[in-house]
Each structure stands twice: as structure tokens, then as C-alpha cells.
Symmetry: C2
């Protein structure tokens, strides 16, 4: 499983991402002293992904209210896919929690990275454009997680490496669920929106980042220097 390149496993996902994770991030993430942050931030990210999917269900269950127009009836496909996705993310949360417990890692407070909020700042504020942009951002978060799990796995201990590779399949499916829904719901082509968020995502990945997190940019302070 490890031997396969990400492009062999998920060609569309690799084509969608604007860049590869910088090697400096991988080096930092592979340091044993950063393992606690990686796992706690990972657990938090699974929770945030589940919450975000549920927020979409709560916000759009009875349709999309378009200003000055009739309500677009609820999209059952959106509700179903988001509910299943939330369940899978919660299952992953439980798995990370079990690993943390076995390793005596205490669940301390780890502040969120700038990653998602950087993209969300660019989401349009009117409907259904807001929903479409939120779904595209969801696709980026899932695609990037998938890419990082794959690239990081060989640098971790055997148990964690196996666990991270086991997550690829569902993260890859979540990426394509988000992207398909964005395409389905938008009444115009979404290529320009994808291009815009690609630029923001690339910037988040390749610019220096003071904080080390699962979705952080290029580490400026290595943990030795800190």
C-alpha cells in the first residue's frame, strides 16, 4: 500500500492540489517531540470536519434561501453525504483518541491553525455561492489531509504510519464528495472558484508559518530553536 504514489491512488486529487507539501514541513512533523501536537491537532481536525459537515446539514436541511428568490428545496444528496462524512470523521476521532490514550498523551489545548480560516475569508456571502465556496474549501481540506497523511506516513512509527495510510481511502472519497456536490449545486462553472482557492491554499502551504500544526505552512522556528 505504501509503495503506491498518491498520483496512482488518487489522480484527480493530485491534479486538484496546487502544490506538494514542502519537505521542511515533513521534517518538522517527523520529529518525535512534535508527535503530541500532530496527534492532538489531528483529533481536533477530525472534530472540526465532523462539525463543519453537520453545520452544513443544519444550515441547508430545509433548502437554500436565495435572497429575493424562492427557496431552493433541500438537496437530499448533500444531507446524506455530509451525515456519512461526519460519522466517518467521528470514527477517526475515536481512533486518534485511542492512540493518544495508549501513548499517555494528554489532550491539552492546541489552538487551530490559520489554514481553514484563510480560505473561508474568501468565500462569497450570498447564496447559493456561499454554499458552493464552502464545499470547494471542504474539498481542499480533505485533499490536503490525504496528501499529508500519505507523504508523512513513511516517516512515522509503524503503528501511526499504518493508521495514517488507513485514512487515505475515506479522505480521498470525502474530497470527491465535496467537489461533486459543489459542481451539482452551482448553476455556473466553478473552475474560476477552484482556481482562486488553489492560489490561497498554495500560499498557506508555501509561506512561512510561526505555528506548527497538521495544516501549517513552512515552519520558521524549528523545535530545536524554540
Amino acid at each position: 500500500m505504501t509503495d503506491k504514489s498518491l498520483a496512482e491512488m488518487f489522480p484527480e486529487l493530485v491534479a486538484f492540489l496546487p502544490c506538494e507539501t514542502p519537505d521542511q514541513w515533513i521534517e518538522e512533523a517527523a520529529k518525535p517531540e512534535n508527535l503530541d501536537i500532530i496527534l492532538i491537532d489531528h483529533a481536533n481536525n477530525e472534530l472540526k470536519a465532523a462539525s463543519a459537515a453537520q453545520s452544513l446539514i443544519l444550515r441547508y436541511k430545509d433548502g437554500v434561501k436565495v435572497t429575493g428568490q424562492k427557496r431552493i428545496p433541500c438537496n437530499v444528496d448533500l444531507l446524506n453525504k455530509m451525515s456519512r462524512l461526519a460519522r466517518e470523521e467521528l470514527r477517526h476521532f475515536e481512533q486518534v483518541l485511542a492512540i493518544m490514550t495508549r501513548r499517555n498523551i494528554e489532550y491539552t489545548t492546541v489552538k487551530a491553525s490559520r489554514y481553514a480560516s484563510r480560505m473561508l475569508k474568501h468565500a462569497r456571502t450570498w447564496e447559493p455561492a456561499k454554499l458552493v465556496d464552502t464545499l470547494i474549501i471542504g474539498a481542499y481540506i480533505e485533499a490536503r489531509s490525504c496528501e499529508r497523511f500519505h507523504k508523512l506516513a513513511p516517516h512515522l512509527d509503524a503503528e501511526l504510519g499504518r493508521f495514517y495510510l488507513s485514512l487515505l481511502k475515506s479522505e480521498g472519497r470525502h474530497f470527491s464528495d465535496y467537489l461533486t456536490l459543489a459542481q451539482e449545486i452551482s448553476d455556473e462553472p466553478i473552475e474560476d472558484r477552484i482556481a482562486l482557492f488553489a492560489e490561497v491554499e498554495k500560499e498557506a502551504m508555501e509561506s512561512p508559518d510561526e505555528e506548527f500544526r497538521f495544516h501549517s505552512g513552512v515552519p520558521v522556528k524549528t523545535s530545536e530553536a524554540a
Copy 2:
């Protein structure tokens, strides 16, 4: 399965609830013209239950901050139980949604009942008392849902009756998960808190209610009169 009384299936749950659902509510709920409201409100309640469980995880994942005292480290049992509970509620949401889709019931806006907010008003505001009260309220919501599913099932069509009985097992387990956690987390006996919420719950069940919902009180306007 239908032949068993709720007391035979869940003796502790029946002892915990302060009263039985009034027959007037069952009569109203069994009217075919109220089926849409029952199903939409049920779907909403599954979502709310999943969100509430997830909010507890997000609020208490890195422990309980007690004013003027040290942080109580995170309770892994709380996180695990709430995550599993949220996953089950989301699964039920998908099942209700599938029934609605098959029956061409559109997911329209149905405002929440007064039920949960009535109890939440009485929750203490300091920690860990706030968490303990929230868990006791969770136990009431799950226990009442279980009782109503059981009492309503024989009055519905075969598919819905079977579905509602199939939910009893997990709702009964959720009730005892909430109650056990409340007892575990509180450093003092919780009997007086249970008694207080029993009173509020009984009042919500037995007082007249303008709105008909899954957790509403005694219907004042029957649908014929409306």
C-alpha cells in the same frame, strides 16, 4: 418485540421518567395529517442530539476549567461515549431522511419545541455543575424519546412502527450513558438535580402546548380545530 412493556425492557428508564406521555399527545401524533411534522421534527431532533453531543466534546475535550481551580483533565470516557452517540444519532437521521424521501415528504422548516430549552434554563452556570446538569438533561431527552417511540409505535403504519421500535435499544443505551457520566463526573450526589429536572420535565409533558412536536406537551388545538 411490541408486546413487551417499556418497564420490562428498560426498568431504570421508566423509574427515571416522572410521568407517562399523556394519551392526548398520542392521539394527536397518530393523526395522518401530523405525520410530516412528526418525521421532520424527528429528523431535526436526531441532528440536534448529534450536535449537542459534539458540542460537549468540543467544549470538554481538553478538560473542565473550574473557576479559580486547576483544570480537571479530559474525561476520555465522556469523549468516546459522546462521539459514538453522535454517530448513532446521525445514522438515525439518515434513516428518517430515507423514509421521508420514499414518502415524498419535503424537508420544510419546523421550529424546535420548547422542551429542551425549558430544561436548559435550569442548568447551573459554573463548572463542573454545568456539565453535570447538561448530562442529566441529555438523559431526560433520550429517556423521553424512548418512551414516546414505544408508546407511539403501535399507532403508526407498519414500516414506521417497526422503525420506531428499532430505535429503542440505542435510545435506552444513550439514556444510561448520559446518566452514568453525570454520576461519574459529579463529586456530590446528583439525586436532587435529577428531582429538579424531573419536575420541569413533567411540567413540559403535562401542561398545554400550542405547538405540536415530538416532545410537545398536551395539545391544545387539535389539527381539526386548527
